[in-house]
Symmetry: C2
Subunit: 411 residues, 2 copies
């Protein structure tokens, strides 16, 4: 509906006294108030989500700043008096109009866009978070990269990844972007970094969700990578520029990665890795989760095995498995046997023909009756099956009976 | 009910003309007829299972040898005329009283016992195979090892195992026998061999099921190992001495491994490994199956990942996981968090206390109001949580406010 306003306009308009409701440019007020809410409320604050949802950001902000003592606001948002009192007590100390305006200035200079839920490019998938959905996203790069029609897969994992994990992350990311999938991750060291890097190298679109402000890349060692992600994709955060990446925000950032992606795949994760938190968010949202297995002797795979064992994650061994999670047709026709019961025979034959074949020799000719007795089958059945096997070319008929053709060596 | 008769008695008695029904020793006849059936019918022959179940082995054998043209036998076993005709056609050519007696002699000399379903030591678990249950078992070693009250776990896997797979098989087998579990396997090279060998080395009981006659160890390279299994446990087969291990018999042998065990664990398996057939039998019997994950880059783990993905196998990373499959209490109280949502904080604290902790500094003292604003929480809540954290010793109170205690470094 609305487009993102250029930062200077917002700043100019918002300088008008907010509490007076005297702004002419309602749109700018809306954007300013949204930005203000990202200062007041920590990520995932459901009370903030409820009141902003009920009243809109501007009116909700007005209520907070003026104290909202008449109860109309909290009634509209179906909040108890206590919930409202507690919420105002945590929001009010953070109210600082100047800081909001300064941040909008910082954003303008750093070419950071404020993406609001009314924007056409707002990712609809975030609505599944309900009252815990982000109130806005601060975006470096192309906000549209977050809502392209392509499927999005989160590829996440341990910072302390092994060479094995990085190899698998690279394989997955490379093949997924080749199939048009957008790779979503958290820009951390280890698995996240490899996923982004390979997605970029393969010419794909990738999106990074950060726990702190997008203008201060974290980890700093990934400043260059994060810049490259922004150059062709998007780097986003729900906290305003200048915000530190706290542990709380990492946990909440994980819910964004999960909510933004149709499926979440954990490539490597220690027993208590933060990646499991991302997978947990995905599971809570009803999104499929996948885990790449590894050696049980590797601590870096313990979290993945936990996901397989306790959380019914799908065992991921290839990009095709991820495409399946995403509901994307893999295109390959299945050549696989549909049951475990007819497999060990490399020729594909089982049951009676296996028994006949077992009863035959490559070296010596045997009579039908002899083969039947050895196979424990009737002479009639044996004769019929020998006929079929002859057509397949796996047995030969001769004067002295039957002989098995030499089998091709198994790989 | 009956005990196994020593072979010489059987042989002597059975020399009386069977078809005349003139035997005095009905018990010996019963055992002789059971042995004869293991010559006539290939493993898993459901028609044989049905007629022997309905008439008993001796009468059923009489019917086959005499032709059973009056239909009484097949009626009793609820077989169609065609089923009966086909079955007799495949059994009759194998009828050779002399061969049965010779085999009972071979068995006596080689100290092989014939275990029949009436024996107290017959493993009750085999009854789940229904009409496909074995008609008898030829056993080297102690037949009682197959029906001890201890839980039995099948540890099976690829012949072409990797060092990783052999390491894991050894760990599992060693810990399982230490917990009193009987390790069941197939005596093949690779995983099977390691499982047996480690079980023996750890002083445990292990049982091997063979596809051929128990007097001709297969593979021959495991003759010594198979002898050692028999010395303290049991080596069993449903086919009589002298029988070759055919592919059909390997597939049917796998059903015995699965049926004898409360759970089947595949340690390593190629994409089409015979171990998957064993797991398939276990699944068909409603027995839990487990698979050990490995690197997705290892072909030797591809079958295990298939079991995890397509057949809902349990992901096995330790002996405790196998004990859980067996329904054996592992004894360790779970210290693990019950949800994925409260994990990444190494101190175990989350939510509000995480936010308070995030808002504090180790270096500088901060006032409660300052901490509240940084955490996005009310001063009252902040004050209350700071009090709790002070009791935990993770924050310190001073003249100038609060300070966070230095955290122990994460591993």
């Amino acid at each position: 509906m609305t487009d993102i306003l250029p930062a200077p306009d917002i700043a100019r308009t918002a300088l008008a006294p907010l509490v007076a409701h005297a702004l002419n440019d309602e749109l700018a007020l809306h954007v300013f108030a949204t930005a203000a809410w990202s200062h007041l409320a920590e990520p995932g604050d459901g009370v903030a989500g409820r009141i902003v949802g009920a009243l809109g950001p501007a009116t909700a902000l007005h209520e907070v700043v003026t104290g909202g003592r008449d109860g109309a606001a909290r009634n509209a948002a179906e909040l108890t008096a206590q919930q409202w009192k507690d919420a105002v007590a945590r929001w009010r100390p953070r109210w600082n109009q100047r800081a909001v305006l300064d941040n909008l200035d910082v954003a303008r200079i750093a070419r950071i866009r404020l993406l609001t839920p009314e924007d056409d490019r707002w990712p609809a998938a975030l609505a599944d978070l309900g009252v815990h959905a982000p109130l806005c996203l601060w975006v470096r790069g192309d906000p549209g990269a977050l809502s392209l029609p392509s499927p999005r897969a989160a590829i996440v994992g341990a910072r302390a990844a092994t060479a094995y994990g990085e190899h698998v992350a690279a394989e997955l990311a490379g093949e997924l972007v080749a199939r048009g999938v957008i790779v979503v991750s958290g820009a951390a060291y280890g698995i996240d970094g490899v996923a982004h890097r390979v997605a970029l190298a393969a010419g794909g679109v990738t999106a990074a969700l950060l726990a702190g402000g997008v203008e201060r890349p974290y980890p700093t060692g990934h400043a260059d990578l994060i810049g490259r992600i922004a150059a062709t994709g998007a780097v986003a955060s729900e906290v305003p520029p200048g915000s530190a990446p706290t542990r709380w925000r990492f946990l909440q950032r994980n819910r964004l990665i999960a909510a933004l992606s149709e499926a979440t795949v954990v490539v490597e994760a220690g027993w208590r890795s933060g990646s499991l938190n991302t997978a947990g968010h995905a599971a809570a949202l009803g999104r499929p989760i996948g885990a790449v297995p590894g050696p049980v002797t590797s601590a870096a795979s313990a979290g993945c095995h936990r996901l397989l064992r306790e959380f019914d994650a799908r065992c991921i061994t290839s990009a095709d498995d991820v495409l399946e999670l995403l509901g994307v047709p893999t295109g390959s026709t299945s050549w696989l046997p549909q049951t475990l019961f007819d497999m060990p025979d490399s020729t594909g034959r089982t049951d009676d023909s296996t028994r006949i074949s077992d009863a035959m020799s490559v070296q010596s000719w045997r009579r039908t009756e002899d083969i039947a007795r050895r196979a424990g089958m009737s002479a009639d059945d044996t004769s019929a099956i020998l006929g079929l096997l002859e057509i397949e070319g796996v047995v030969h008929r001769g004067e002295a009976g039957w002989r098995r053709a030499p089998a091709p060596r198994r790989p």
